[in-house]
Amino acid sequence: MSSAVAHRLPRLLALVPYLLARPGIRIDEAAADFGVTDAQLRRDLELLWMCGLPGYGPGDLIDLSFDSETVTVTFDAGMNRPLRLAAAEATALVVALRALVDTPGVLDTDAVQRALAKIEAAAGMAEQAPMVVGLATREEAATATVREALDRRRALRLRYYTASRDAITDRTVDPMRLLLLEGRSYLEAWCRLAEGVRFFRLDRIEHVTLLDEASSPPAHARPTDVSAGLFRPAPDQRVAVLLLGPDAAWVAEYYPVDEVVELGNGASRVRMRYADEAWMVRLLLGLGSDVTVQEPPELAAALRQRAAAALRRSRAAGPVTFRSADLR
């Protein structure tokens, strides 16, 4: 199968009806709609101009009237409607629209519903799709204000909980977009405190205020490519080698790990990157006997020290002397 034709033919079949619906359209505008260069669109038009009905006389060929910048179809040779949606096209669009219906407070779900009904009718799509997507987006306390800031292009004042440092900070941000990914909502914004583009999980925003100031991320601030996940390897990250017991096997799936080696009986050895030692120690403390740190030694030492300090404090408040009744 020639992939060049497979790419070009759908465009050629769509072009005539597209132009019929838009007499005198600018060629650069049409090229942009089809995602091709002006030169490619002109080559497509020249090809179509040679096509037509058997006989191929002057009255049988597709006729176009060009000028330097615009084009109009004057004879369509019977190709006045686009081809129906292929099954894969209908599935991709209908399944996506059905997913967007379930985004309370984030999208105009009424418009999504209406669009879905029309697309389903036009696509002749069966009720039972082979594929279903649940975004599982929840409306958080901050959702409405974040949406308003994006719609009105205004800056926001956030009180935000940073889990990696277990800290709460106040900061002013210039919103860029609201990303719905893996069941969570993230505000991507230029953070004036960090002087960089940052993600803010909406369920970790403690308090949000819409400012009168315009949102003005610097020109070099770009949305992050999240196609490979939200967390990307960074050069300053350290690597831990951990032995995970069966009850901690979930760690290898929940957090990005570079390598998993099966050790039998449900145990495994993983290499895991981490940026913040305090965060890593919190994770490891919680896992208790289900994890052993092989590397690096300073992480193992930090873990032991922190655990020992916790035990001392806990024992200082033993179960007998430390009763809630005494604390009042």
Binding site: L93, V106, V132, R282, A317
Partner: protein, 340 residues
């Protein structure tokens, strides 16, 4: 070459759309521009077969049939009502929703299919602007198993694959009658009837090892009526959102520390513990193991006051992390308690 072929295929579509009679291959060879120059019958038929396959790949509804009982071979035509996209008209807010939906997919196959759909909607006269929306839902690619599984669901065929229940588990061969491919919170699953377990089951695509093979005849899998695939995956995953707390715990938190715990806690009053200022708080617990893990993670900044069994669960984690020898009898008592 490519230009000549594209031109010939457009001519073939125009010709077959314009005829109500079935046209035989020989007739097509005579009248459609681009076929006349073929050097031999063989070359023509090979070319024509390839062209038909190309059109069918694009979902052009190529009909075969005979005009009368006296015809000796099948002919071809395209029924206009099957070819043409029905009339569709979208309001601007509906068109915006469609544009957003088309950009949901962060995987090349699905994104390409969605772009193909937009192309046709634009050709139908609908203005769908492909511009950045402030809200961007994204669903990432499902991995290598996706294509085979989706095709098997569509064909109604059973599949077999090797599977790990969790990352460190041994690999087992599984055979499934697939009902649907499901993305839930960004994770991909296939749901269906598990022949080995004789029960409905969901499988994570990322835990499938190696290739998925479709087995058995097409149409052999019947999906139950009224099946809710999302509910099937949602209830089998252990990450429920809307569960009710199974109890409460009282904790002492060092002043200004353990902020993650404080966010979910109700303050009860200021308390000094071993000379360290702090607060007594109450939290709702959902899963004892998760609560113990979370609290233990905060080390000396969080101390369980009650219940006693949670205190022991946390202490056993801290004891292990400190490298102290485990206090065996008490460890057993903790486990027995946790299981209850």
């Amino acid at each position: 070459m490519s230009t000549a072929r594209a031109e010939r295929l457009v001519n073939l579509v125009l010709c077959l759309l314009s005829t109500r009679q079935y046209l035989t291959a020989d007739r097509i060879r005579t009248i459609v521009a681009g076929y006349a120059d073929t050097p031999s019958d063989d070359a023509f038929f090979r070319m024509f077969e390839r062209d038909k396959a190309e059109l069918r790949d694009l979902a052009v509804p190529l009909e075969t049939g005979r005009n009368s009982v006296f015809d000796t071979v099948d002919g071809y035509r395209i029924a206009r009502r099957d070819y043409e996209l029905p009339d569709i008209d979208l309001e601007p807010d509906e068109a915006a929703a469609v544009a957003l939906a088309a950009r949901l997919w962060d995987s090349p196959d699905l994104a390409g299919a969605a772009r193909g759909a937009l192309l046709k909607l634009r050709a139908a006269g609908v203005d769908v602007h492909d511009e950045d929306s402030p809200v961007q839902p994204r669903v990432r690619a499902a991995g290598p198993a996706f294509g085979t599984l989706l095709a098997a669901v569509q064909a109604g065929r059973a599949v077999t694959f090797e599977y790990r229940r969790h990352p460190a588990d041994a690999v087992h061969q599984r055979t499934l009658e697939p009902w649907g491919v499901v993305s839930w919170k960004g994770r991909w699953y296939v749901a269906g009837h598990d022949r080995d377990r004789a029960a409905p089951r969901c499988f994570r695509l990322s835990r499938i090892v190696g290739d998925v093979r479709a087995i058995g005849p097409a149409g052999a899998v019947r999906r139950p009526d009224g099946l809710d695939l999302l509910a099937m995956v949602g209830t089998s995953s252990w990450q429920h959102d809307d569960h009710t707390p199974s109890g409460t715990a009282r904790l002492w938190l060092a002043a200004g520390r353990a902020l993650g715990l404080r966010r979910r806690a109700r303050p009860l009053g200021q308390v000094t513990l071993a000379g360290v200022p702090g607060d007594l708080v109450e939290i709702d617990m959902h899963w004892p193991d998760t609560a113990a893990r979370w609290i233990a993670g905060h080390g000396p900044d969080a101390v369980v006051v009650e219940p006693e069994w949670l205190r022991e669960m946390v202490l056993s984690r801290l004891t292990a992390a400190a490298g102290e020898p485990a206090d065996e009898p008490r460890g057993d008592a903790v486990r027995a308690k946790a299981r209850r």
